[in-house]
């Protein structure tokens, strides 16, 4: 209450967005941070307000998103008494924050807030939670603010070990089949330019993780695809054929590696990573480089020879052809009038020239967007990767629009995930923000249904969904909306949505039982990727 009372005096300088649910607030702050390179800020009240942040905190921690969350707390003399709306948010959030702190005296506020922003945004970014007791909020104090740039026990800028870089350069120079994997770390360190210089000098094919998409333009001739479970055929099989594997700003998530015991065993591994605990965590690196990606790339580029790997690149191209041909064949066999998710995304990508900010939820539509949207711009792919939080997209898109107001922001969401944070349509209504929403409605929790089909003998246990009239729902919030079911109407509908001033919801009815392929089944090796 005292914080909000103070905010009332700062409506001109602080843009406060009133959301409908704290989970919506934190996902919106994540979307804002991911597109803007700034730290997202969230306020929540004590008790349930604070606990509603939990999913977003876990999501932001695993996806390295800088946030400062400020929660209210009961007065300090009531701590531990089960007072009204008291919850131990410091204890609850400890494992899912980069740092948290409880303020019980007003004089601590400036230095702790300064520290919070420094910690959230430096090194490997992450969420910080500050819990402020009510008495501290009411207390008066002499204001003094000093920016925090240093903490004795915290070392966000590791010193680059030049010998390791030399060692890596030597491996790269000798390599016949080098392969580069990039992750979100490239964008977090703003190393897109340095990456491009490195790739163009070394001639090494580049593949990206889900969160890394956009760090290197998809239309670049050395871009060879998307990694992992629903990634592309070529980068997955070539992982087990390369001789030097260079990983930058990524953490070898199990969705990327498949069976770790059969992952890139033949290759020498160079791992550049700012978080020391990620080195050797999943994949033992022959040359671990604990460093900021930008700094390491600059030095590495200077140390390598100019090179080309035409034959090796040809192998990627021919593997890609195998993938495209097989998927095309499958589509012909299944030929139906029903719209497919990939057609919608491909057309959307074409119309927006791969330059919109695309915010996705979790599931089949997410994988389709990762596969078929031509991400050519950095920080344009906003999705929940590590935690896989359904309900992420709608609020994150709202935040993304606030973070990048000049860009077109398109939320692509499934019918399931949309209903998990649908209340945030109210935020769109009130803040009059321009977010385009595409619901790919297959009337199923599609990814789970796909697994049930492939691995559980089509026993579709509780995955079929009956949804409300999304168009009517949007209209109830004064958001323009339309629904289409036919291919013939797709282009016009997308154009109408994109040309509409203000928010717009387009529901696209897609095939009920479409599957996402390729696929590396759980427990399989990346070289066992299935094309159908």
């Amino acid at each position: 209450m005292p914080i909000y009372d103070a905010l009332y005096d700062y409506t001109d300088s602080i843009n406060h967005v009133l959301v409908r649910h704290e989970q919506g607030a934190i996902h919106a702050a994540q979307g804002y941070a991911r597109v803007s390179d700034k730290t997202g800020v969230v306020f929540a009240t004590s008790g349930p307000g604070a606990t509603n942040l939990i999913t977003g905190l876990a999501d932001a921690l695993i996806d390295s998103t800088p946030l400062v969350c400020i929660t209210g707390q009961v007065a300090s003399h009531l701590l531990g008494t089960d007072a009204f709306q008291e919850t131990d948010i410091i204890g609850i959030s400890a494992p899912i924050t980069k740092w948290n702190y409880q303020i019980t005296k007003a004089h601590e506020i400036p230095s702790v807030i300064a520290k919070a922003f420094f910690i959230a945004s430096s090194g490997r970014p992450g969420p910080v939670l500050i819990d402020i007791t009510k008495d501290a909020q009411f207390e008066s104090m002499q204001f003094y603010y000093e920016k925090c740039t240093k903490i004795r026990s915290y070392y966000p800028n590791p010193e680059l070990n030049k010998d390791s870089v030399e060692e890596a350069a030597k491996l790269i120079n000798q390599a016949k089949k080098p392969f580069l994997l990039i992750g979100q770390g490239i964008m977090l360190s703003n190393a897109e330019k340095e990456l491009k210089e490195f790739v163009e000098k070394s001639g090494i094919p580049v593949a990206s993780t889900l969160l890394g998409l956009g760090a290197f333009p998809k239309n670049h001739p050395l871009y060879v695809g998307y990694l992992g479970m629903h990634g592309d055929y070529a980068p997955n099989i070539k992982t087990n054929e390369c001789d030097v594997l260079i990983a930058i700003g990524m953490r070898f998530d199990d969705r990327v590696t498949g069976d770790v015991s059969r992952y890139a065993k033949q290759a020498k591994v160079i791992h550049i990573e700012i978080d020391a605990s990620e080195l050797h965590k999943i994949i033992k690196a022959d040359v671990p480089i604990h460093a900021d990606a930008k700094e390491a790339l600059k030095l590495l580029t200077a140390s390598i020879n100019k090179n080309q790997h035409d034959l090796w690149l040809e192998e990627f191209k021919s593997a890609k052809k195998t993938e495209v041909d097989t998927l095309k064949q499958s589509a012909e066999i299944l030929h139906s009038e029903e719209l497919k998710m990939n057609e919608v995304i491909e057309l959307l990508s074409e119309i927006t020239h791969g330059e919109a900010i695309v915010v996705t939820d979790v599931g089949q539509h997410q994988m389709m967007a990762a596969r078929y949207y031509q991400f050519n711009k950095s920080k344009s792919n906003i999705t929940s990767g590590g935690l896989g939080t359904m309900g992420f997209a709608l609020p994150a898109a709202i935040g993304a629009k606030f973070g990048a107001p000049k860009n077109t922001v398109i939320a692509i969401i499934g019918d399931g995930g949309f209903q998990m944070t649908v209340q945030e349509l109210g935020t769109i209504l009130q803040s009059k923000i321009d977010v385009k929403i595409v619901i790919l409605n297959n009337r199923f929790l599609g990814m789970v249904r796909q697994w049930q089909q492939l691995f559980f003998e089509k026993r579709y246990s509780f995955t079929e969904m009956i949804s409300p009239d999304f168009v009517a729902l949007a209209k109830a919030y004064s958001i323009e909306a339309a629904k289409i079911e036919n291919r013939a109407n797709l282009k016009d509908a997308l154009l109408k949505m994109l040309n509409h001033e203000g928010s717009y919801l387009l529901e696209v009815m897609v095939a009920k039982e479409e599957n996402v392929f390729p696929m590396v089944p759980t427990g399989a090796s990346v070289s066992e990727i299935r094309l159908k």
């Binding site: 400890a94 409880q102 026990s153 605990s277």
Partner: protein, 174 residues
């Protein structure tokens, strides 16, 4: 292969550090055998000594995640041969036992000492490795042990590098 490892963690003196450290073990389903905490030789730097049985690979990953905590200055892992360690045990038995000469013999033979004698009970103290304090426990058992408490391990390392040297290195690299 599983072995006993001693983890030493040096932290700032902030609320909740014990929780932050232990949840890293919990998350990996690792059980802590013993844990002690005290201020170290450097003012306001706290030292946690944690003993557990696990594999080298696991304990190295745990160390990495502990060091990632903002308020942790440094964490080390040591095998048994790399440290000098000690535990303390207290045994409460009935004072009546003193009239029986054999208790005195047990105390002498085990290099234990009597801390206090009350008309009703007496408290014996023994420091040593867990095997030694356990041996005394077995020997005192026939006399009837009213209460027994054993501390966690405290340990110092054999290598000569001092914590203050690390702290200086850290400050320099920052």
């Amino acid at each position: 292969m599983e072995k006993i490892y001693t983890v030493s963690v040096f932290t700032e003196n902030s609320i909740g550090m014990l929780n932050r450290i232990t949840i890293i073990f919990t998350r990996r389903h690792l059980n802590i055998d013993s844990i002690t905490a005290s201020e170290s030789e450097v003012k306001d730097v706290f030292r946690y000594t944690i003993v557990l049985r696990t594999s080298k690979e696991q304990v190295d990953k745990v160390i990495g995640q502990i060091e990632k905590l903002v308020d942790v200055l440094k964490a080390f892992v040591h095998e048994e041969s790399e440290i000098v360690h000690q535990e303390i045990a207290l045994y409460k038995i009935k004072t009546d036992n003193l009239t029986n000469g054999s208790v005195e013999k047990v105390i002498r033979e085990n290099y234990a000492r009597i801390l206090t004698v009350d008309p009703m009970f007496m408290v014996i103290e023994k420091t040593g490795h867990v095997e030694e304090t356990q041996l005394l426990f077995e020997k005192l058992k026939p006399f009837g042990i009213l209460e027994f408490a054993r501390s966690g391990r405290v340990a110092v390392t054999k290598p000569m590098k001092e914590l203050s040297t690390y702290l200086k290195e850290i400050e320099k690299s920052n």
